[in-house]
Amino acid sequence: MKTEESIMQRIADAAKAVTRGVDAKDIEHWVTIYIMGRAYKVPADLTILTAMEYAGYRFVRGVGCRQGFCGACSTVYRKEGEYKLQTGMACQTRVEDGMYLVQIPFAPAEKAAYDISKESYDASVFLKFYPEVARCVSCNTCTKSCPQDLEVMDYVQAAIRGDFQSLAEGSFDCIQCGLCAMRCPADIVQYNVAQLGRRMYGRYGMPVPKHLITRLQEIEAGKFRGKMDQLVAVPREQLEKLYASRVREAD
């Protein structure tokens, strides 16, 4: 029985951490979720990620920033009595009663290697590296699965017709969680297509930033060399003071 006690202890410890010191007896609302088929009673205000930790899971993969930015904690779930499979980021989705959950820690997707300086800036680049884009039947399943609420199908269609700007702008907030590709009936890897498109757009489509060129010329001409040399020569203590008193943008 010793092993079981230690598991209970670990769950209790985990609960303390995620409920931020609130005692289990003080929690009023509970829901039952199913993690890979097994039922767990968890506090109702947790996210899927913290609820799983509450239940005793420790993440070594499928977790990252915990802020909805990194795209590592893709989750697929279905609610009891509903036919629809749903998707979300575990760190951004609150648990609901009767959720059947599984984590998708990795998307086994094809990723092409290319040199954008050698590719032509038209729709053929997508057919060359990701020919499956032509299989899109406009079913919109990708869009429905996107936790970022992007119009994924629209940007795939933009790729097909070589509209790099719409593709780049439409996919800009993609966090590459992989859920669209996992759901696509045409086996398109939307986010890798989009990445290729954004790179091409950055290289060939966007206006050249003149201020950046000017600044690079200034640096090369040695405009900042004197000040830099001064800084490098400053002793550590004084450098820390300078750092603390620097002019900085508001947080």
């Binding site: 038209d122 729709a123 053929s124 899109c136 039947v137 406009s138 079913c139 919109n140 869009t143 429905k144 119009e151 199908m153 629209d154 269609q157 097909i160 017709r161 070589g162 509209d163 009936p185």
Partner: protein, 296 residues
């Protein structure tokens, strides 16, 4: 005097935005000259490319219906007051029109597709799919010829139709055996129209991807018959036909060394020449064979 402008919802399709961009340029310019503004559908997607003949294969009709919903939205949002959707590509025309017909005739299929697309407004079945050629046919007699600044007098042109504008009968826009819709336009811009029996023979379609020589043989039949009847140029309304008839001439020469090249135009390119537009609006492609006297 410039005509009053009438706005139509317009579906370009992927080819007119990529490899056949020059066809779109000339078509939009000609339309404007005739008082027609083609307003591109917002958020359009692939037409579906090939109409699926399987009875219950509804997923392959979703793309077309989604575009028809965009036409409803344009009317709802006041972008156009027109339910007729204009197409330029024969493939898009054929697919969109056949799907439209299918869902109008099968309310159960339409309901299933609408239910599947639950994030969109329901398609109400009130859009009509037409080809730009049909709009030109509707114009007042003389509307085109009045605007000709440089008649194509002396140019002998053979219209080529292929299959998608004419078949199946329920979506065809002209007599499937004796089509005249392109010939009438060519005559209106002053060209001499060369009718020949190969104007409806298959161009080889997508065989061009994996069997170039099969396409080259068909192209040879089509072009050499037109040439034998005196044609100096070919005109078509389908970007895929245009591609096969034009780009496969290289392979034709490999099989038939005596074959003489012949220029292939999209119908609006010759209209643009006759309207006196500059080379930019005629949309001549660097790869396209263009007789020099046309550009003078």
């Amino acid at each position: 005097m410039e005509p009053d402008i009438h706005k139509f919802p317009y579906y370009p399709g992927c080819t007119l935005k990529t490899t056949a961009r020059n066809f779109e340029v000339s078509a939009l310019a000609c339309a404007k000259k005739l008082g027609i503004e083609l307003v591109e559908l917002p958020r359009w997607n692939c037409c579906g490319t090939v109409f699926s003949l399987t009875d219950d294969d509804l997923i392959h009709h979703v793309a077309a219906v989604r575009n028809l919903i965009r036409v409803q939205e344009m009317n709802r949002d006041g972008m156009v007051e027109e339910n007729r959707l204009v197409t330029l590509c024969s493939m898009c025309f054929n697919t969109l029109k056949r799907v439209n017909l299918l869902v109008k005739e099968n309310p159960e299929n339409l309901e299933k597709i609408n239910n599947f697309m639950y994030l969109e407004d329901d398609y109400e079945g009130n859009v009509e799919v037409i080809h730009f050629l049909e709009l030109l046919r509707e114009l007042d007699p003389g509307a085109i010829s009045q605007r000709v600044e440089r008649p194509l007098t002396g140019l002998r042109v053979a219209p080529y139709y292929g299959c998608l504008m004419l078949r199946p009968r329920e979506v065809g826009i002209d007599d499937p055996e004796e089509p005249t819709i392109q010939g009438a336009i060519l005559a209106a811009v002053g060209a001499e129209v060369i009718y020949n029996s190969y104007m409806k023979v298959c161009c080889g379609s997508y065989q061009t991807v994996n069997d170039k020589s099969a396409v080259a043989r068909l192209v040879y039949d089509i072009l050499s018959h037109a040439q034998a009847d005196g044609a100096q140029a070919i005109v078509t309304s389908c970007p895929l036909c245009a591609y096969n008839l034009d780009s496969r001439q290289k392979e034709v020469r490999e099989i038939y060394p005596d074959f003489e090249q012949i220029p292939v135009f999209y119908f609006t390119q010759l209209m643009a020449v006759a309207f006196g537009f500059g080379a930019d609006l005629c949309g001549f492609d660097p790869n396209q064979l263009v007789p020099e006297h046309l550009l003078k």
